[in-house]
Amino acid sequence: MSEIKKFLYVNRKAPYGTVYALESLEVVLIGAAFDQDVRLIFMDDGVFQIKKGQNAEASGMKNFSPTYNALGDYDVNQIYVEKESLEARGLTLDDLMDLTYEDEDDDWAEKKSIRLLSADEIRDLMEESDVVLSF
């Protein structure tokens, strides 16, 4: 078998206006079955993908944001949000969904999946990745 690779999903686009966010999430869910090291970055307009309180009913589109809550169950729990991107949009961490996972190495304690990073830390994350999928 191949070695484990570091997969990085870079999400830079807002949901609904274009399909990239939805179809990116579909890749992440399928990819979770492959036993690789998976990280997600939400930066630039990508931070809107995990905004709290999305309600797409009147727009006639499908609200796929609840699916992000399921990421923890798929062992996708390394989720990084860029601080500078939130600030430029007048948002804080409190505006985002509370994404969590249960840590099997710590008696299944519920832990936060989201970590806030600076642009410099995001840069380092990109540099150490093997495969970068950008949406």
Partner: protein, 95 residues
């Protein structure tokens, strides 16, 4: 006249270009990802005063940003969108 902006002001130049070409008597309607221009405290919020800015309710709701809007942003539904089109002789989309 009516200007329609459907792009995020953080990703594309459409909103900023529109506000730079809208007269103070014109109305700017934000739809789709354009509604992000109506966020309070954002890097583009100071441009909102250049014209009357209206946002499409259903696109604001889809993105969950009702509570994050700048003051004075009026919301309209699709019927209101149609009214804006018929009330204004000229309609320009900043696609």
């Amino acid at each position: 006249m009516l200007h329609i902006v459907n792009k995020s002001p953080f990703e594309k130049d459409a909103f900023t270009s529109c506000m730079g070409h809208a007269s103070s008597s014109s109305t700017v309607l934000l739809i789709e990802d354009g509604v992000f221009a109506a966020l309070k405290g954002s890097a583009v919020a100071d441009q909102l005063s250049k014209a009357k800015v209206v946002a499409l309710q259903s696109d604001v709701a889809a993105r969950g940003i009702e509570a994050n809007l700048a003051e004075g942003i009026e919301l309209v539904d699709y019927a209101g969108f149609v009214d804006l089109v018929t009330e204004n002789r000229t309609v320009q989309s900043w696609v």
